[in-house]
């Protein structure tokens, strides 16, 4: 009776340990068990580091309710962003949206001008146009970053969701400062060219 119990005890330990072993190692050694979901990335900035430390594999999000809620929020917030930041280059286009032909031409022109500047083949007029684009780009980026900082702070007060972490805010403020300096630099260049 004593031997039987002992045998059962060890058998149980082995069974549990075997299961734990498989759990622990499967994301290292298999290609199939985990995959990254690209279709609906919901990166949670509050996720503990240990979860994403090495391979950052995410299980496919099976919670349709969460997806729907997020999609509704996104739809509303993109609409609001467009309204509040009219004409901003960096308002994200949503699938199905279309920019005006004029803006598209401007963006294509911007790339070509940047290349001409790098190659030092831009004319004076093109340099002026380039500087104007650069100023607009920097100011538009600042506007979007500030908008998201403020809006997420407002929203999280009401819905208690987590958006940006305190570290994200610190880095954002540093970048806004840098972009401000950059915009001022381009503005002074433009001023000296148009004098």
């Amino acid at each position: 009776m004593y031997k039987k119990s002992l045998f059962l005890f060890f058998f149980l330990i082995l069974l549990v340990s075997g299961f734990l072993f498989l759990e622990k190692t499967r994301n290292f050694f298999t290609d199939d068990k985990y995959e990254i979901s690209y279709e609906n990335k919901k990166t949670d900035s509050s996720k503990p580091e240990s979860v994403i430390k090495h391979f950052a594999l995410q299980k496919k999000d099976s919670s349709e309710a969460v997806k729907k809620e997020d999609k509704l929020e996104d739809k509303e917030e993109f609409r609001r962003m467009k309204l509040k930041l009219k004409g901003n280059f960096y308002i994200p286009l949503q699938p199905g949206d279309k920019r005006s032909e004029e803006v598209e031409k401007m963006l294509a022109d911007k790339i070509l001008l940047e290349i001409k500047m790098k190659k030092n083949t831009a004319t004076r007029k093109e340099k002026i146009r380039y500087l104007k684009y650069q100023i607009k780009s920097a100011r538009d980026k600042i506007a979007i970053a500030q908008y998201i900082m403020n809006r997420t702070a407002d929203l999280s007060e009401n819905n208690h969701k987590e958006y940006l972490s305190p570290e994200d805010i610190v880095q954002g403020r540093e970048e806004i400062k840098r972009l401000g300096v950059l915009a001022n630099f381009y503005e002074s260049k433009l001023e000296s060219m148009t004098e």
Partner: protein
């Protein structure tokens, strides 16, 4: 009773010991990777935490059965992934991250234990000389005041290293359609040999820890999807321009002479890499020949045993499966293909038996292959920045 207790404790220790993965071979006790955007895991115009785990070094580490720390960037990264943008995968507030220049997931807490030193935009001079102070991707990988890629990689006391730098010394000229951007070959040779000497000084034979190194060479510019042949009476036959130029323009055009000059420099650079590998007894992967072969014949997907049993053949054309939407950097499937060619070399050179990455499974879960999306004719501030970003980081 004492015996039972002892046996139980012994049993638990055994199980605990087994539950920790061991590398498939001691040579892989600690693997580090040094390189540029290809090593960093850059894809479709961005680097981010959801695709970095599919970079070829991370796949190699997985096959070596070791942990591999990467400087993960919060999704959607620095710049944006064109695919995610066009598919609407990015939440409204996540656009904050690319705007503020990317944010490290670990807030730089793991800087002392990183294993992936691939830095987007790095060329051969950056390997030894450029520190985190340079900002941009250098800061995001090396840390604000972090030492150079090579210094940090060697400080990790690795046993195995892959080294794939040199692409930006040649490809930059092709991406910006400007041959004056080519790194002079003498400069490249001097820098490459200096870097190789530094790695060699950390080999086990010289009192260091490194037991194996694999070098990878530079692909041909005409093998990547970024450049496309231009046809028409106004252009010389054999001219190329970038895929995103819907109307060919002289501002972004490589003439047959330019192509020939870039190819010659590529050959010279690859001769140097091959020579250094041979002189040091290191592994050498001829990515140039591999990409050329794929460009010509396509690539039938391989399974875990390395056999081409897949139904699907991917190509090096734009949207052909090997490259991501920026036309330069591999897709997830492309990274699996790259990892497997490196595994072939490691197995042959070091007499080990690393299993292959299943390209078939990777392709099956590669959203770009399963649900392709074409950014051409969908120019937007973000897409424009992503495309220009790719050009700029190579310039």
């Amino acid at each position: 009773m004492k015996k039972t207790l002892l046996l139980t404790v012994l049993c638990m220790f055994m199980v605990w010991g087994f539950s920790y993965a061991k590398p498939v071979n001691p040579i892989f006790n600690h693997y580090v990777a040094v390189g540029d955007s290809l090593t960093h895991g850059f894809q479709s115009g961005a680097v981010d935490e959801t695709r970095q785990p599919n970079s070829y070094p991370a796949l190699l580490a997985k096959k070596m059965q070791i942990e591999f720390d990467q400087p993960l960037l919060k999704f959607p990264g620095y710049l944006i992934n064109i695919e995610d943008f066009l598919k609407g995968n990015i939440r409204w507030w996540q656009y904050y991250y690319p705007i503020v220049g990317g944010v490290r997931r670990d807030n730089y807490k793991n800087s002392d234990i990183l294993d992936n030193f691939g830095v987007t935009g790095a060329d051969i001079k950056d390997g030894l000389d450029t520190t985190g102070k340079s900002g941009g991707y250098f800061k995001l990988v090396l840390g604000k005041d972090g030492a150079s890629m090579i210094d940090q990689a060697i400080a990790q006391k690795p046993t195995f290293m892959t080294f794939w730098l040199g692409n930006n010394d040649v490809l930059g000229a092709a991406l910006s359609c400007d041959t004056s951007k080519l790194t002079p070959i003498d400069t490249f040779r001097t820098r490459f040999e200096k870097t190789a000497d530094r790695i060699a000084s950390a080999m086990e034979d010289n009192g260091g820890t490194i037991r194996g190194v694999v070098l990878v060479n530079v692909p041909s510019v005409t093998s990547i999807a970024y450049l496309q042949k231009v046809t028409g009476p106004d252009f010389a036959e054999g001219s190329y321009n970038p895929f995103w130029m819907m109307t060919p323009s002289d501002n972004m055009m490589l003439s047959p002479d330019d192509i020939s000059m870039i190819n010659q420099r590529t050959q010279e650079v690859n001769d140097e890499i091959s020579y250094v590998a041979m002189a040091n007894g290191w592994g050498y992967v001829d990515a140039n020949a591999i990409f050329k072969e794929i460009k010509e014949y396509g690539h039938r997907l391989r399974d875990v045993s390395g056999d081409p049993t897949g139904d699907r053949v991917i190509t090096a054309e734009y949207l052909g499966g090997l490259f991501s939407l920026d036309g330069v950097h591999p897709s997830n499937t492309g990274h699996a293909v790259a990892a497997n060619y490196i595994i072939d070399e490691i197995n042959e050179m070091y007499g080990v038996e690393l299993s292959h990455v299943s390209e078939i499974n990777t392709a099956a879960s590669d959203s770009l292959l399963q649900h392709p999306v074409d950014p051409r004719n969908k120019l937007d501030g973000w897409v424009a920045d992503a495309i220009y970003g790719v050009v700029e980081i190579f310039m």
